[in-house]
Amino acid sequence: MESEEIKIGVYVCHCGINIGSTVDVEQVRDSVSELPNVSISRDFKYMCSDPGQALIRKDIEERGLNRVVVAACSPRMHEPTFRKTIQQAGLNPYCVEIANIREQCSWVHEDKADATDKAVKLVCSAVAKASLLEPLEEKEVEIAPRALVIGAGIAGIQASLDIADAGFQVYLVEREPSIGGHMAQLDKTFPTLDCSACIMTPKMVEVERHPNIELLTYSKVIEVGGYIGNFNVKVKKKPRYINMDRCTGCGLCAEACRLKGRITSEFDVGMGKRSASYIPFPYAVPSKYTIDAEHCLFLTKGKCGKSPACKDACTADAVEFEQKEEIVELDIGTIVVATGFDLFDATEKPEYGYGLYDNVLSGLEFERLVSSSGPTQGKIAIGGKDPKDVVFVQCVGSRDKSVGNEYCSRVCCMYTAKQAYLIHEKLPDARLTIFYIDIRAFGKGFEEFYDRVREEGVRYIRGNVSEIIKKGDRLLVMAEDTLLGEPIDVEADLVVLATGIVPRADVRELMNLLKISQSPDGFLLEAHPKLRPVDTASDGIYIAGCCQGPKDIPDTVAQAKGAASSAMTKMSQGKVKVEAIIASVDPFICRGCGRCVEACEYGAPELQEAEPGILVSEVNDSLCKGCGACAVACPCRAISMKHFKNEQIFSQIEAVI
């Protein structure tokens, strides 16, 4: 290997005029042709095109090139392309180096001489590195045919069903007592006005009955170790204090509970009340009760009358106060994250008076109010009276830098239109006003639905509401009608805020658990915004639904199916290639001091006893992610970070200056 003569081919791309107009490509080509080890340097209109790639392959075959430098766009763009190109010509895919002369040169500089000069240096640097590049080996590991799905909203449910139908075992973990998520809380869905519960219940029941799905409700993933194919997962099951096998879901316990009607229902977002022993909603799955340890008198005070009323009432003897929390350990091949979203807290916009006035509701509160399964059985009444004037405020907590959410929540325009429609159906005389900034009716059937709502007489006023104040028993909503350019005040009996979608409050905890990242908006980050929308930076972990960003139900389901299919693809392959750019230890040089072990976040290096009393570090290839922290920590340079070795980078430094 060491004696192999290095022959480098340099290929400078014009990228049409993208590079060529700012960088003198011919000059770059000529300036590097005499560099050591360079045997040919060429330029071409589009290196990434088929003829461009063919040119490289031809040179490799005819001229015996063994290293290739492509000066073109960012390696983040086409490095995989050119790796494949040279692999097709028989070279190791890691023997190519990219000089980024587009994104980091031609596109950011104006002076042609300066840009050309810089491009030459960047190519020199790539040539220097290419001379020292080494072929790398891609190893394979087996993948356990079991998937973990975190979160059982519509995304998690759909992903679980798809994976289970394909014949793989699924563990579906949900932290609430029932599956269903936010979709279960909705009344009707836009734009078709399907009843949310009606279309969801069959799927929920299917999850419960599916032989390949093990449902872990009232549970939380607390530890994730390992790597794709071999994740070691720990799930904490909270005690329900109800025996799941015995409970018949009859509800006698809840009826008997001494706190009946005194605890705020989470499912009804404060619009309704429940007992300490409860089932979140009538069609919950599993249809089993849970005793809320935070409120239950017996569990908090140790005493509930003479004896706990629920226990006395239960005819199935299902109440078990002695239950303890349980830890379940799972060996998992792939993970789908579908943890959903939180609703924007409208008290962050004090000008709207949310939390101050009872008749200012969040979008989700209104859903529960209007739902026939909700606390009022769908009757919309404010202070016992039918509201005459209802105002909807759009973009509450979305597209708003003042609360730190720059993004559009994507569902509020349409859910507001739907909610206005639902009021119109129930109270045809009510005057309905919607304040909006822009209407985003981009989905299938959305624009048609928006028109339908306007046909029904709902008034759309363009302008964001600046404040809501009290006027007697009513509210005064103030805004500017920006189409007229005049201030406008509208009186209302009920204001519904189109509260947006925000990342889960505990998203950081999840990120640390799974070692995945978030985008600037706070949602989980996909591996590529366009081409890898369900993958994460961690192999074998996929994301679906609103945890990745706001989206409506059809998009959520589609993404869940995408995530499921990615997980299934990996599991049906049975094996996966692991990262080739990893650290390796020279056991002869290693002093066994353990500094690499301390530096690694993934537990990849481990000290092994090579001979009695002599410790030597060894890197587990499957665990190593290739960050290189261990190489920095190593005092005696026993660890090399493949593809980013010291001498490779030193040579780049020398070439670049």
Partner: protein
């Protein structure tokens, strides 16, 4: 330099092939393929290219154990140095520990940069810009950032305290030394790693700085700095009108004259200690007894000897920040165990590098013995 010249220059042709060198060599004990004898014999047979391509050329510790025992007087150290010069000129170098940062620090000092190396001087220390004595601080400020607490490779030492203690001791005996911001690395490691030109650049800058301060006497604490200034500066840059002294020599003189007084029961922490002879201080400079006199005269301390001491002492395992490896650690671990076997509760050394290397070997290892520098020990015990 041709191979013939090297052979001539180092009297390698006298080699008898007896093998005393190899069997004396601490490296050869842990790297069986490494043999001083074979290196010299390869040269005699004209296999110069093979020598300079051999990465083990950089494993030699320049400890001088082989040379001190060679019956033919082969100048083995300079043989290695000159072979390394040849290797370097062919673009070959050893495996630099710490990613080469220490070597780069040395090389950067030959640039015309305005250092800020005197940050350690506190108000209680009396130093001067000009005067009779020049205290050559050496690498201590840099070592502190690399190996000190929170440093890049923390081995739990405070090198800079050494510099402060040295000034404290000198102040105590009435010396207000010159400490200069323009002092450079002495060049020892560059010289012995084969970079003669780099060494000369540093040496010239140092001589200029010393002369500008008007000093006639240079006090070194680091044994490598001492031998470099005393022996190598005149050798490569001609005779200099300065006297180079190692701190132990001054202290031993003061002791003999009764001018240095220790506290009654000065040492509480250390009862029984052993002294590790740094190669440069011992075999090279032949200062064996002064440190022992000093340690023995501290009330409350008993000095015991390791099996291998004075001229037979074993190197701390790494030299010139090159080719540090598991083998170096074996040498270090063996030396520390040898010290532990004496029953001593601390190993005393007199070289900042020995201190670093031996402490490094203790990192995450089951070795109890403490490592203490003689200067610190003296400063803490002074009346």
């Amino acid at each position: 330099m041709s191979l013939e010249e090297i052979i001539k220059d180092t009297k390698a042709y006298y080699c008898l092939g007896c093998g005393v060198c190899t069997s004396s060599c601490p490296v050869a004990r842990v790297i069986p393929s490494f043999s001083p004898r074979l290196l010299v014999e390869k040269a005699l047979f004209g296999f110069g290219d093979e020598i300079i391509s051999d990465k083990d050329l950089w494993s030699c510790l320049i400890c001088g154990r082989c040379a001190s025992r060679c019956p033919s007087g082969v100048d083995y150290l300079n043989f290695v140095r000159e072979m390394r010069m040849e290797a370097l000129s062919k673009g070959k170098e050893g495996l630099l520990a710490h990613d080469g940062i220490l070597n780069t620090i040395m090389e950067l000092q030959s640039l015309n940069l305005k250092q800020d190396r005197n940050f350690w001087i506190t108000d209680d220390l009396e130093v001067a810009d000009a005067g009779e004595y020049f205290y050559f601080v050496g690498c201590l400020p840099y070592f502190d950032l690399v190996f000190g607490e929170g440093g890049l490779c923390d081995v739990g030492i405070r090198s800079i305290e050494r510099a402060r203690n040295t000034v404290r001791i000198l102040n105590k005996i009435g010396i207000k030394p010159v400490v200069s911001n323009n002092e450079r690395c002495c060049g020892h490691d560059l010289l012995w790693n084969g970079d003669l030109e780099g060494f000369k650049r540093l040496a010239e800058l140092n001589l200029k700085t010393i002369k500008e301060s008007g000093a006639k006497k240079v006090i070194c604490v680091c044994p490598e700095g001492y031998v470099t200034l005393k022996r190598d500066y005149p050798r490569f840059l001609g005779e200099q009108d300065i006297e180079v002294i190692q701190l132990c020599q001054i202290l031993a003189d003061e002791l003999r004259e009764g001018k240095l007084k220790f506290l009654e029961n000065a040492s509480v922490d250390y009862k029984k200690v052993t002294f590790h002879d740094p190669c440069s201080l011992g075999r090279i400079a032949e200062i064996y007894e002064e440190p022992r006199e000093i340690i023995s005269s501290i009330p409350g301390i008993e000095l015991v000897e390791m099996e291998r001491n004075r001229v037979d002492a074993v190197c701390c395992g790494t030299s010139g920040w090159v080719n540090c490896s598991g083998c170096s650690k074996k040498i270090q671990t063996e030396r520390l165990k040898e010290a532990e076997e004496t029953g001593a509760d601390a190993l005393i050394t007199a070289c900042p590098k020995c201190e670093i290397h031996l402490n490094c070997a203790k990192y995450n290892a089951d070795l109890k013995i403490r490592i203490k520098d003689i200067t610190d020990l003296v400063a803490e015990s002074l009346a």
